[in-house]
């Protein structure tokens, strides 16, 4: 078995050097997508006219298009339209200055927002209807009801699913290498192609991502346990 184990060990720090990029993509797109997703969920919960329908279509399309397609649309399509706009107002093409990373985060955020909105929507729907009635009965406004009672309870129900989405984001960040973003997968591919050490590098990469997921799962599980000790769910 001529597996170059020394090479494998040497490659680990090189690959991990790009971990911040992976982290940036995952965390940022989770935050942006999460906020947008929450907003969409609220709009659909309160059935705001026009917007409700619009976002229903939005969520359906985003969850139906493969992520790779969304990534390509962001990476090729946005510069195209930006360029069109620049040309029409007579300025230099701004798209040149935008790094691929930005397009990646944009695409991932949009993708995340659709899934997050569904998580929050079902969390809100799962709440006991009486809670909302009790708020009305003491004269709370919709905003007060949501802020003090509904959203906190929905959060508790939503967190496990949000954690899963986050882990999914970490794995999805690997797609970014296909649009020239130097995150961990991209570094690995470069290393592997240099001297045809595919098996070694790709085993290392697979294990790194797997360990990352397992570690984070444990951390989140412990956090959930600690958190639920304070709040007793009805």
């Amino acid at each position: 078995m001529r597996l170059d184990t020394q090479f494998m060990l040497d490659s680990i720090p090189i690959i991990l050097k790009a971990l911040p990029v992976t982290a940036f993509i995952s965390v940022f797109s989770m935050l942006l997508g999460g906020l947008l997703g929450l907003l969409i969920a609220l709009i659909r919960y309160y059935k705001i006219p026009v917007l409700d329908r619009l976002f229903r279509v939005y969520v359906s399309l985003i969850r139906g298009f493969p992520l790779m397609v969304q990534l390509y649309l962001a990476y090729f399509g946005l510069p195209f339209y930006i360029n069109m706009y620049c040309q029409s107002v007579g300025i230099d093409n701004l798209a040149k200055n935008i790094p691929p990373l930005a397009f990646a985060v944009f695409a991932f955020s949009v993708n995340t927002s659709a899934y997050v909105s569904e998580v929050f929507r079902s969390a809100l729907d799962s709440l006991d209807k009486g809670q909302r009635e009790a708020c009305s009965s003491i004269g709370m406004t919709s905003f007060q009801t949501m802020a003090h009672i509904l959203l906190p309870q929905a959060m508790v129900a939503a967190i496990p699913n949000l954690v899963n989405l986050f882990l999914g984001n970490i794995k999805a960040s690997t797609l970014a290498y296909m649009i020239s973003v130097h995150e961990m997968m991209g570094v690995a591919v470069v290393l592997a192609n240099r001297a045809y050490n595919y098996l070694e590098i790709y085993i290392v990469t697979a294990v790194i991502y797997w360990l990352l997921c397992v570690l984070l799962e444990r951390v989140f599980a412990r956090m959930e346990f600690r958190f639920s000790r304070y709040k007793v769910r009805v």
Partner: protein, 250 residues
């Protein structure tokens, strides 16, 4: 003073309220009795706009409202003047017992925290739960939860407290503790409208009893009038079912 007139409400094809009038004077305790489906709960929920009536007018004090066309602002106004005790208590699951009572005071009535806490503690002690302030609803028994619900309503100092079958969902041995708290409240001449199946209790604490059936008020009067001297056939039939209770407790 609360007065509703000509309340109509349909659920799909089922007409649940067919023109109901009700008047509650200040400090009066009114019980609404009747078989299931008579519309008593719906009437209560129309009063605080948890249901939207198809027709009807309401007066609270010197303010008039249309039950059908009330604006969001008006609804909020009414909901701030009234309070409800639910069959399934509907305590806020993510708040402690104390917070359940103070939240109405701080968030809705904009009281400061210290005052709100004082008021809340007073009412919680009154209902016998002064020692469970930092417990969560899930840690309490059904009867204790319901008593917190009553404290929550009382603390808001509303023009009227609406009770929607407050003991119907409780285990029998817990009913007594809740009824005695409600009796305490009634003795202080707080305006109350109680929908209940507890006949003897209703007879004992009410100033006025209203019997509803099939979406209309069949008969109303003092407890003596209704229980001892019912005029309408339907009232008699309904009371037959509870005769034993009536005789036993007399």
């Amino acid at each position: 003073m609360i007065r509703v007139t000509n309340v109509h409400k349909k659920f799909k094809d089922l007409e649940v309220l067919r023109g109901v009038d009700l008047e509650v004077k200040d400090g009066e305790v009114i019980s609404i009795l009747g078989p299931s489906g008579s519309g008593k709960t719906t009437l209560l929920r129309c009063i605080n706009f948890l249901e939207k009536a198809d027709e009807g007018e309401m007066e609270i004090g010197d303010r008039k409202y249309s039950l059908k066309y009330a604006t969001k602002k008006q609804k909020l106004e009414v909901q701030r003047k009234t309070a409800m005790v639910f069959q399934l208590n509907n305590l806020f699951a993510n708040k402690t017992v104390l917070e359940n009572v103070t939240i109405g005071l701080t968030v809705v009535q904009k009281m400061n925290k210290a005052d709100a806490r004082r008021v809340a503690v007073r009412y919680l002690e009154k209902v016998g739960l002064g020692d469970r302030l930092s417990s969560y609803p899930a840690q309490l028994s059904g009867g204790q939860q319901q008593r917190v619900g009553i404290a929550r309503a009382l603390a808001l100092n509303p023009s009227v407290i609406l009770f929607d079958e407050p003991t119907s969902a409780l285990d029998p041995e817990l009913v007594g503790e809740v009824l005695s708290v409600i009796r305490q409240v009634a003795e202080e001449h707080i305006t109350m409208v109680i929908v209940t199946h507890e006949m003897a209790f209703a007879r004992d604490i009410s100033d006025k009893v209203v019997f509803m059936d099939g979406g209309v008020v069949v008969e109303s009067g003092t407890p003596e009038d209704i229980f001892l001297n019912p005029q309408k056939e339907r009232t008699v039939q309904f009371l037959q079912r509870f005769r034993q209770v009536g005789e036993a407790v007399k």
